[in-house]
Amino acid sequence: MLVRERITSTGIHAVLIAYSLLALFPLALIVINSLKSKKAIFRDPVGLPVGEAFSWKGYASVLTNSDFPLYFGNSLIVTCVSLFLILLFGAMASHALSEYRFPGDTFLGLYLILGIMVPIRLGTVALLQLVVDLNLANTLTALILVYTAQGLPIAIFIFTEFLKSVSREIKDSARIDGLSEYRIFFEVVVPLVRPVIATVAVFSMIPIWNDLWFPLILSPGEETRTVTLGVQQFIGQYTVNWGAVLASLSVAILPVLIMYVIFSKQLIRGITSGAVKG
């Protein structure tokens, strides 16, 4: 079996590299074009940024002419905090639903998950009103709250599915060892479902990072703009600063790659244990 494991491990790395090349091609295209002049972009979109085609102008306009670092920081704060809240509340709620019996547990479980079916965008008008009433308009807090609410239903759905498979006896055993319910959750349950947490983290992160709708509506102010919104300023009504758009997209890809590196080991373990027979 050891041999087979080594083969599988090598194979997984091979497929990851191949996949990365494939998946990164469009990204590479963006990065390459971000280093070219506008003319060169349209003349030869797949050409390399060499000779006269090469241009720093995109990056220059992003980093000097705009508040790009601010936007980037905003995006980072909103995404990380929302993600943290989604994972924390999602996992804890699912743990409670799968572990404790209390009046209305079925109803609560349904209630928490039903959100999958109703897109939060349909409530935009009401949300905007609420945000204004709470004096949260043009704050990152508003975005964080909305994204947490948006990400929770599916996180709870997936967590509940996996937490069911955590042995009840191991939790009882910890209880007899005198651990509090919180320590049981953090010291016994969380280490057992780490791959699931990584999976949920990655696919909860993307829609938050990429969202345009809520930043536009809830916090379009100069101070609270996110990267995706910030990029829009280079897309004018009639002319588009393609170099700058592509340069900012290049920088915006960074956190996705960082997340990938952080979570990949756990994620692969989660996916293989899910996709491949034991």
Partner: protein
Amino acid sequence: MATLELSGIKKSFGAVEVIHGLDLQVKDGELIVFVGPSGCGKSTMLRMIAGLEKVTEGVISIGGKRVDHLPPALRGIAMVFQSYALYPHKNVRGNLGFALKHAGVPQSEIDERVNTAAEILELAPLMDRKPRELSGGQRQRVAIGRAIVREPDVFLFDEPLSNLDAALRVHMRVEILKLHQRLGSTMVYVTHDQVEAMTLADRIVVFRDGQVEQVGTPLELYRNPVNTFVAGFIGSPAMNFLRADTDGNSVRIGGAHLCELNSSAGELQLGIRPEHLTLNEDGALKGVVSVFEHLGGESFVHVELPDKQTLVAKLDGELSFAPGEQCTLAIKPSQCHVFDMQGRKIVPNTHAMV
């Protein structure tokens, strides 16, 4: 090392009562086995003693101290689970010492107690392994070791051998018996397997539908079951039950006189253990062999009586029968158990040979 007292224990899940008032005194150092078919409430009762389920009504005392309001960690109990329930990311030493470390016991004492437990269970060579690197039997030994280091007043075992294969189950059963002889602790052991119950128990508690049917030593239950449920549950192969009738003096099966009994006339059930039947040309039970099962050292003969009732006899392994052969069996009246049609035991006043 302590007594355990249960008095008037009731348990309901919602509107459904699953334990209907249970009283039991467990003596210091006694090994009590809860046995019964699945869903009879035996595991629920154990989980209530452990503090993993709330008691709906009644009092649980350990060593004379009422504990049913205490959390599990303060009750002085340790529990061994069916699935071992080891922490997968800790090695054997970490698993053994975890509860003590959490309770703030000094490291030197933890080491001492862990090493003692490891020595008792021969775990010393495995101390640095993770649970996934252990076999089923080794995992169960670690689980038992984790209970030992806590030096509890009462050990609780929840079907600890169910996940092991047959050979290992026999081996671990003897290990647990030796452990009890060595530690002399009070133990409560839950199982659905009557062989485990018979071999391990000082006293057995037979559960059915949340009710205790009988409490007694293994031999008391074997020799004097109070009803057909206990009689059928204890012993393998299971006791034969035959419809019989009596005129107040003579018990008859299908018209044939079997033994004498002073009671009111009417129908009754006769319980006969397969191992008490003997081949005898003059026996009262004549029939036709329907199935013959050979186990090597012994054999089971299924005999169909003229009135279509069947019974199983456990006979010598040297014998051989073909289906359809005639077969005549005898039973000593003193080894017959007489039950009424509701399954309750009738104690006969006099016996006489056929």
